[in-house]
Symmetry: none
Subunit: 128 residues, 4 copies
Amino acid sequence: MILKIDFASETPIYEQLKNQIVEGITFGLLKEGEQLPSVRQMAEDIGINMHTVNKAYSILRREGLVIIYKGSGVIVNDFSKMRNKSFLKEVPLLIKPVIAEAYCKGINEEEFLDKCKEIFNSIYKGKK
Amino acid sequence: MILKIDFASETPIYEQLKNQIVEGITFGLLKEGEQLPSVRQMAEDIGINMHTVNKAYSILRREGLVIIYKGSGVIVNDFSKMRNKSFLKEVPLLIKPVIAEAYCKGINEEEFLDKCKEIFNSIYKGKK
Amino acid sequence: MILKIDFASETPIYEQLKNQIVEGITFGLLKEGEQLPSVRQMAEDIGINMHTVNKAYSILRREGLVIIYKGSGVIVNDFSKMRNKSFLKEVPLLIKPVIAEAYCKGINEEEFLDKCKEIFNSIYKGKK
Amino acid sequence: MILKIDFASETPIYEQLKNQIVEGITFGLLKEGEQLPSVRQMAEDIGINMHTVNKAYSILRREGLVIIYKGSGVIVNDFSKMRNKSFLKEVPLLIKPVIAEAYCKGINEEEFLDKCKEIFNSIYKGKK
DNA sequence: GTGGTCTAGACCACG
DNA sequence: GTGGTCTAGACCACA
């Protein structure tokens, strides 16, 4: 799996990393039970500091997406068992600003929903 | 229009303010040509720093959503003329992480799209 | 409020700090709305590193016990509004090992419950 | 006796193992004089490292709960003779943080004490 | 070898 | 001046 960090971005590195791993899990690039590179290895690969990777991993653990075995590594959790639907309530808060901005910039509902569907389709493709 | 700032939130105040004004414009609470409170007034109303309001207004101007007349006020621009569809390319970058996280937490396509549609519906309602 | 860190302890410094602040809030030494020392100040006071304090504060925020105003400080949240009773399910997991060990070492139910009651009494005393 | 190790937990495996054996002794699943599986056997059963089991057993010996006969096995000590009440002084230190956190999260004295009593009751049940 | 903690010092965004 | 992020390098507990 290839990770791309934008060092000029405003979003913190650890968050970009976290997001990309979440996407990797979602889109099937990272399978359940698969082991992630060690914090040091990952840090070296990307060219960032160990602690930054550590922070990303810790957040992923807190969210239940990975399991950290102290002293032996980090693996992708089986999230298919998870049904933390409480996140559903947060979704509007997260997408409302995006939709608002999109609408102001002349993007209509159909265009927006198409983009969403495209993303979901690429999820299904990864699961095949 | 009522503005609600969550001081405990991780999103900076200036960004929350900007987002809420964008939403106000989108959802029809702020009509084109309408005047926004002065920087001072707005700062006092919400109980925040003048600089913070200034920053939000500046971003809105940069995005073309408001026009700042030095010394006489800030008014909502007529964005119906705007067709800055270049934002369409940014949309996937913004929603992909949200969809990925939602999917991992057991939310499916239908549920997600429903939330989007709800938001668009409340836009149309405001325009009536 | 006086904080005592045991540098020889196995429990991490940030956790000791977090625990003592939680206790401070519980026992009424830290009132709702009261401001905590800045990370740097607190670090200097105790003689530890800024980042260690930061970690403790971050955990407290995540648990909803304090509110962090980026750029202006950290204050004690009004936890009387909180009724996160889901913690009730975790309580047995936390005290079972303590009770088991106590029982093995000849401590009976009455003695143990008395200790608990003493602690609750000192909470009530602080609230007067 | 069935041992359940949570590999995702923050508590080290050796400590979970130790705790569960202590609980086994307390709740009557392990009787005095009963023999524990050998270090090798236990390690294999749970699927962990021998050293980890060894560490747990060593702690139990140090606390006087088991006796290790080199080469012939580990047996549960008769702790009914033990009256190491010095542990009574440590109890408040161990439960104070738990009570403090519980109180902050809206759990009152009665609820907390009930949980404790439940645990003691399950001890008595095991002793019948 | 792994992750976890702590320190030290730097820079930045926010208010 | 505040907290947030990142780096660098050290030591420790765990497996």
